[in-house]
Amino acid sequence: MFTYRSMVAGAAAAVLAACVTTDSGSPAPTTGPRLGRAATPQEVAAWDISIPPSGAGLPAGSGTAKQGEDVYVAQCQACHGTKGAGKPADPLVGGVGSLATANPVRTVGSFWPYATTLFDYTRRAMPPTKPLSLSNDEVYAVTAYLLYLNGIIGETAEMNAKTLPQVKMPNRDGFIDMSRK
């Protein structure tokens, strides 16, 4: 737990530490002037667009593959090809089951471990000519369409804040966690 008192204590330690140069030859300060202003919950909500595997922060709205096909054709197909086949940009479909073969094909469907990543990235970055322009319903729908094309969900399955995190991606267990080595 962090308290203002502990910060003052930390500052005293920092004065001593400041006498010691770091690896790179410059002392690293450990206390600052506290110039950040408090962010309101509304501000945080308006800025926070990242969606973790738990789905926390997924917005209201929903969509199905059927609805998503229209979004895909209008917004995505010119770069990602018919039905996600790719060219000129990355293919989004296929390769499921190919990763252990001599010709692995890594796509959203075959490689990505979490469906939430697809929603997150589509919303923040696509289409590249106008990122953050799709409605939440459109992002849910086009996410559903790509999951459907990859054979992961049915054509009428509705993706929303509750159902999307429950989607089990084919390569969910395909990663070896090296982060705690």
């Binding site: 206390t31 202003r37 990122p131």
Partner: protein, 436 residues
């Protein structure tokens, strides 16, 4: 009026006797033409000299007024060929998604000029007004905070020299079945080194107050993909820097102006540029780049997630592809070494494809997680040679051969290649990239 620039002098012994006029192939007519710029001065009573008539051997720029001062300096026009080679994956779709590489073979020392620092963007360089840009720290903190750039500029700062290297650096040597015949920079130039200055991230996190349960952060940029990566909190509290300056000046736009995250020694993609938001989280967010791109497939179909710390590495920058040995005799073999784990302690150089090695001199100061220059004098006898460098860091990590490195990964082995580079010098002095 007497000519003020007359130089009284004795006959110059440096000028070949008996042929004083031919030491520079510039005739009097050329001289006069080039002196046109001083016509104004001449009209005021200052006349252009006739150096040739006096038997002087001087270049024209000694007899012409120089260019005046300017607000921001530029390299000599004679260095115009020293450029970053650029490449885009999808030029018609996203011309700003791609990379440019530092021309390592054209540079010396260890600090990369700001205009030649490598770039890797996912949808171009945003044009950010620092007066409107803010940094939000939120998530598992006691108090979410918003910092203006003016506020960050008032914090106590620290500087450190360190490299930034893209995960995809040196990929051309592992994804191509045949060695690409391109420069050292075109292969290994997704690494650059600068003195970065800014506010320790730990300081800002302490002000927000880290809540129990937070063990990662999510860092997000304000570019047109809102590039985002997860970083373990331990790194954020260790040596992470909220960088505002690069080699003394404000960050260049392509390096994250007005503020970027800097994680010394870790894959460059994580040092999120144009930083707008840091969220403290429980577990990683699994953003697109940390799942689909910068994971390392291994034999058997699985992939390593994550590879943060960059491996010990070196490359000979001279002699290297694109140069030609001017002849047998004494040459300097030089290059760069670095490690994400800390300091370089040793670089060995081989001129016989790894059969024998000789220790190179390391040029100080040798800084941790920083480019280190090595040098070795070499008497080239004019016959075929295979030159390599092999770095060792303070943790005892030894740079692997290409074959040993590749054995750990499954194709395409695109990321995190830190294996030994081999250059073949032919008897005619030409230099090729080879796989050994």
């Amino acid at each position: 009026m007497e000519r003020k620039n007359r130089i009284a002098r004795e006959p110059d012994s440096r000028v070949p006797a008996g042929d004083p006029g031919k030491s520079r192939k510039i005739d009097r007519r050329t001289f006069l033409a080039r002196s046109a710029g001083v016509a104004g001065a001449a009209a005021a009573g200052w006349s252009a000299p006739d150096a040739m008539a006096q038997g002087l051997d001087v270049p024209p720029w000694m007899q012409t007024m120089g260019v005046p001062m300017r607000g921001y300096g530029q390299p000599s026009k004679f260095e115009a060929k020293v450029l970053r080679p650029t490449a885009t994956g999808y030029p018609t779709v996203t011309p700003g998604a791609g990379a440019s590489r530092t021309p390592l073979q054209d540079l010396e020392g260890t600090i990369t000029p700001n205009g030649l620092h490598f770039e890797r963007h996912h949808n171009g360089v945003p044009d950010i007004d620092p007066a409107q840009h803010q940094l939000l720290i939120h998530g598992l903190v006691k108090q979410p905070l918003i910092f203006t750039m003016a506020a960050l500029g008032r914090y106590p700062m620290t500087s450190r020299v360190c490299f930034v290297e893209c995960s995809g650096n040196s990929g051309p040597n592992t994804v191509n079945p045949k060695p690409p015949q391109v420069t050292a920079g075109a292969i290994h130039g997704l690494v650059s080194c600068s003195e970065w200055t800014g506010v320790p991230l730990a300081l800002l996190l302490n002000e927000a107050g880290v809540e129990p349960g937070a063990d990662w952060i999510l860092a997000e940029g304000a570019d047109a993909v809102a590039m985002s990566r997860s970083v373990p909190l331990t790194k954020a509290l260790d040596d992470a820097l909220i960088a505002l300056y690069q080699n003394g000046e404000k960050l260049r736009p392509e390096q994250g102006y007005p503020v970027r995250l800097l994680l010394p020694g870790w894959e460059g993609n994580m040092s999120v540029k144009w930083l707008r938001r840091i969220k403290l989280t429980n577990g990683p967010t699994h953003t697109k780049d940390e799942t689909s791109k910068y994971t390392d497939p291994v034999p058997g179909g699985k992939a390593l997630q994550f590879t943060f710390e960059l491996g010990v590495k070196s490359v000979i920058t001279r002699p290297s592809f694109g140069m030609k040995m001017p002849g047998a005799g004494l040459h300097e073999i030089t290059g760069l070494a670095w490690s994400g784990a800390g300091r370089i302690v040793k670089v060995d150089v081989s001129v016989d494809g790894g059969a024998t090695w000789k220790e190179a001199a390391l040029q100080g100061p040798v800084l941790p997680k920083s480019l280190t220059r090595f040098r070795l004098p070499w008497e080239w006898n004019g016959s075929r040679a295979l030159i390599q460098s092999r770095a060792v860091d303070e943790k005892g990590n030894v740079q692997p051969t290409r074959g040993a490195w590749l054995a750990n990964y499954a194709p395409p082995a695109r990321y995190h290649n830190h294996s030994i580079q081999s250059w073949e010098i032919a008897a005619d002095g030409s230099i090729a990239n080879v796989y050994l």
